[in-house]
């Protein structure tokens, strides 16, 4: 199997096939990263497409010694957060019960409910760590924030989830 560097260099030479392989290799995971953050298929489509379109125009500047996926995921998550912020503007300012559900509910109802209460920034960290198997240093690189910030977001997200799940259990 070609390495990312092989594909990047071939793509730079104008190989349509290389671009196609880049897309096929990373589209599902980039899309899932976007969906995990936004919770909406439509926004995830937009964010993931943006990531690939930006990548297409910036590939000539990309360092082929680096991995492609974190770069694509980074663009997709940043775009997802932008889209969610835009969406927030349409939510009534006095709406205290602002939630971010998923278009397709998770089978674990309680966990789904708990995750909707997390802000998209924390949910992105959860998704990258538990669903896309990124380590915390990798998440720091993807999100462009210090490792301490990642650890803090992860810890707070887990704390909030545990509190919610325990509360449910005690009802």
């Amino acid at each position: 199997m070609e390495t990312d560097a092989d594909l990047v260099l071939a793509a730079r030479r104008g190989s349509r096939e290389a671009f196609g392989r880049i897309f096929d290799r990373y589209w599902p995971r980039v899309w899932r990263a976007a969906y995990s953050t936004t919770g909406e298929r439509e926004l995830a489509n937009d964010a993931a497409q943006d990531a690939f379109l930006q990548a297409a125009s910036a590939l000539h500047r990309f360092d082929p010694s680096r991995a492609l996926e974190p770069w694509l995921v980074r663009i997709a998550i940043n775009r997802s957060l932008d889209l969610v912020r835009v969406r927030r503007r349409f939510v009534s300012e006095d709406s205290a019960d602002e939630r971010f559900g998923f278009d397709e509910p998770l089978p674990d109802d309680e966990l789904h409910e708990a995750l909707t209460r997390l802000g998209p920034e924390r949910r992105a960290v959860i998704a990258l760590h538990y669903w896309l198997d990124y380590t915390t240093p990798e998440i720091a690189e993807v999100l462009g924030v210090p490792l301490g910030t990642v650890n803090s977001r992860l810890a707070r997200a887990l704390r909030d989830l545990r509190l919610h799940l325990e509360a449910k259990r005690n009802v």
């Binding site: 899309w31 899932r32 995990s36 298929r41 538990y130 669903w131 887990l158 989830l161």
Partner: protein
């Protein structure tokens, strides 16, 4: 250390949905269109654009309802009637209509046409690929059509359809729907993109009406040619041209023509691809030269039409490029 919450999180990740097939196909197409642009030199692109524009003028005039122009500064598209002509099957495309911005390659080996109820992005108007920029700019009530017209491929089994195409027959849900059918000599693929996954009733009605404005040339029921038909066809086209030429009327002053019947036609192959060998054999290629435009542009000064004699008289059925 993993606890119950983390275990449940990991388990939930298994059930995370993936992108739909249609979204994946659409995204891949857009990515490749953006990643591997046409290698046509800029000068050639400008020439192609001019040709497409000229073809669009002919098509628009020929369709009998004028030609739509969009203001690049305004968010609202306006329609200006330039010519009102009789019908001619000059090429596939969308009929101009108020508040719709349209563009078409006219007759081409792989023809394409787009229409949107927002101004088309300048890059998309060149029709070198899917209209990605316009799609991204669609508002909640935005509707965008991207149609491609390929010569029929017998190996591909497509449902045969009559015009007008029906929105109800479109496949897919959400933002993008697709109609893929065979109409006359073309395999027609129409992608309809809405501004949102849940288009409003007014957007759906607008889309249905615009889909009804998609026209595809039909092939003529051509009769056998006689020895005199080449000369008759030439005279017919020269007589027909003043009422159907979409450019300035003065351009056609002094027009001359040559005619080549059946298999002797230089573009017989193209005609055969479009409408089959029988129709091509029974058609006359008439090449018109406009001397007044020869100094401006060789391509604009040369017009090529295929005409055939039918039970209801002579019919111009294709303008070749």
């Amino acid at each position: 250390m993993s606890d119950e919450t983390e275990r449940r999180l990991r388990s939930a990740g298994v059930h995370l949905p993936g992108p739909s097939d249609s979204d994946t196909i659409e995204a891949r197409e857009r990515f490749l269109a953006a990643a591997v642009p046409s290698r046509t030199p800029r000068r050639m692109r400008r020439r192609s654009l001019a040709l497409a524009f000229a073809a669009a003028l002919v098509v628009a005039g020929a369709f009998g309802v004028g030609f739509a122009v969009a203001s690049g500064k305004s968010t609202k598209t306006t329609t200006r009637i330039v010519h009102v002509k009789a019908a001619l099957n000059a090429g596939p495309g969308f009929l101009p209509a108020a508040d719709w911005d349209t563009a078409s390659t006219g007759v081409a080996p792989v023809a394409a046409a787009i229409a949107a109820n927002v101004p088309l992005a300048a890059r998309d108007r060149q029709l070198t690929g899917p209209p990605v920029k316009t799609a991204r700019a669609l508002g909640p009530n935005g509707v965008l059509f991207y149609a491609t017209f390929m010569p029929t491929n017998p190996a591909e089994r497509l449902p045969v359809s009559l015009l007008p195409l029906q929105l109800g027959s479109a496949k897919g849900t959400g933002r993008t729907r697709t109609v893929h059918v065979r109409v006359a000599a073309y395999d027609v693929n129409v992608q309809i993109t809405f501004g949102t996954a849940h288009p409003s009733a007014s957007a759906l009605v607008a889309a249905r009406e615009e889909l009804g404005r998609l026209v595809v040339p039909s092939c003529p029921a051509a009769l056998r040619l006689t020895a005199a038909d080449a000369a008759i066809a030439k005279a017919f086209v020269l007589g027909w041209l003043p009422a159907h030429y979409a450019g300035a009327p003065g351009d056609i002053a002094g027009a001359t023509a040559t005619a080549a019947p059946g298999a002797s036609a230089p573009r017989h192959g193209q005609a055969a691809v479009d409408c089959g060998r029988t129709v091509a054999d029974r058609s006359v290629e008439v090449d018109v030269t406009l001397p007044k435009l020869a100094k401006v542009s060789a391509s604009l000064s040369e017009l090529t039409y295929f005409v055939a004699r039918t039970g209801s008289g002579w019919q111009v059925w294709m303008r070749a490029r």
